[in-house]
């Protein structure tokens, strides 16, 4: 067992916060320098552990936002009111602080360019984070595969990575990004204004005949309704990978 423990057991390591990016009023990207980071696959997470002065510990799992090709590891965290970990990460953490983390973890909700595509990414709210890692990986590998992101947000101000998404969609061979804004829209908005439904998927998803790889991430009801709708559109269930947030425990 000793050998197995050495091989498989992930240990906690320290990363230094080198940059903090406010993505929206509630969402922040934490850029970390982690010595000897073993690398990750797009879609994986890390566990983050906070320890209070009295020894009390709390840990949560957060999706990695950076691409495997990126030099630094970045996590994007949504602050949950009263969330004991996320409110610290979004509100208190400063550049130069050390953060304890373990990972990468996860081998199911992952996409490598070798897995092929086209790629269909459907995100609700901060569910876009692991999908962004996949999009960045797609861009970095200059894959000749199509990639589409259907991204549901409450309002234009709640769109995470908004500027980067605008930029990459205008680049050659860039992904296609379709937004839906479910609560409020800026003046002149001509895009979707409702929750993702089967009609919207029929209009935006790759046809099942092109054998897409689909990844859905968001709150549990969002993920389950979108996954069911894709299967009705003819996507084989095994081609639809899901990751549910559930009630964000903070």
């Amino acid at each position: 067992m000793a050998r197995a423990a050495v091989r498989g057991r992930l240990s906690w390591v320290l990363g230094e916060v080198v940059e903090l990016i406010d993505e929206t009023s509630r969402v922040r990207t934490i850029v970390l320098d982690v010595p000897d980071w073993p690398g990750h696959r797009a879609g994986q997470h890390v566990d983050v552990r906070l320890t209070a002065e009295d020894g009390y510990q709390a840990q949560r799992s957060y999706s990695i936002a950076s691409a495997p090709e990126d030099e630094r590891l970045s996590l994007t965290v949504e602050g949950i009111p009263d969330g004991e970990v996320s409110s610290y990460l979004v509100g208190e953490l400063r550049v130069g602080d050390m953060l304890e983390l373990r990972g990468p973890v996860g081998g199911y909700f992952v996409w490598d360019v070798q897995m092929g595509g086209p790629l269909l990414l459907i995100g609700g709210g901060s569910g876009v984070v692991p999908l962004m890692s996949m999009l960045r990986h797609h861009q970095a590998s200059a894959a000749m595969l199509g990639a589409r992101l259907l991204y549901s947000s409450r309002s234009w101000d709640d769109v995470i990575y908004r500027d980067e998404l605008e930029r990459v969609t205008s680049s050659t061979n860039g992904p296609e990004v379709v937004h839906t804004l479910t609560r409020s829209q800026p003046p002149g908005w001509t895009g979707y204004t409702r929750r993702v439904d089967s009609q919207m998927l029929a209009e935006t998803a790759w046809p099942a005949s092109s054998m897409p790889s689909a990844f859905i991430c968001g709150p549990t009801p969002f993920v389950e309704s979108v996954a069911a709708a894709l299967v009705i559109l003819g996507y084989p269930p095994a081609s639809v990978k899901t990751e549910r947030f559930g009630p964000t425990g903070g």
């Binding site: 498989g8 996860g106 199911y108 909700f109 009801p221 899901t242």
Partner: protein, 90 residues
């Protein structure tokens, strides 16, 4: 909040499953003895609000596994999981 909204999936517990099984577990396959369906661990339904974590079949809702971690031990409750298939050492 109702139980549907409390649900996450196997991805959310990849860290603790790694502690128990010493390897990445979300891509491991698990067979349900309730309905016979085989899925990736990452796709199964998981409830983390109980003391410990409860994994249920995403097709028939049978309890597959329960993992409880105390200061000294991990207890794996064996539910209706018929088998679990892990990748060989790479």
């Amino acid at each position: 909040m109702d139980s549907d909204a409390m649900r996450v999936d196997g991805n959310a517990v990849s860290g603790i499953l790694g502690e128990v099984f010493f390897q990445e577990m979300t891509a491991a396959r698990i067979a349900c003895g309730g309905c016979g369906k085989v899925e990736a661990v990452g796709a199964e339904h998981v409830y983390t609000q109980a003391p410990g974590i409860v994994m249920r079949c995403c097709h028939c809702d049978s309890v597959l596994l329960v993992v409880a971690h105390t200061e000294q031990t991990y207890r794996i409750g064996l539910g209706k999981a018929r088998w679990l298939e892990l990748a060989e050492e790479r």
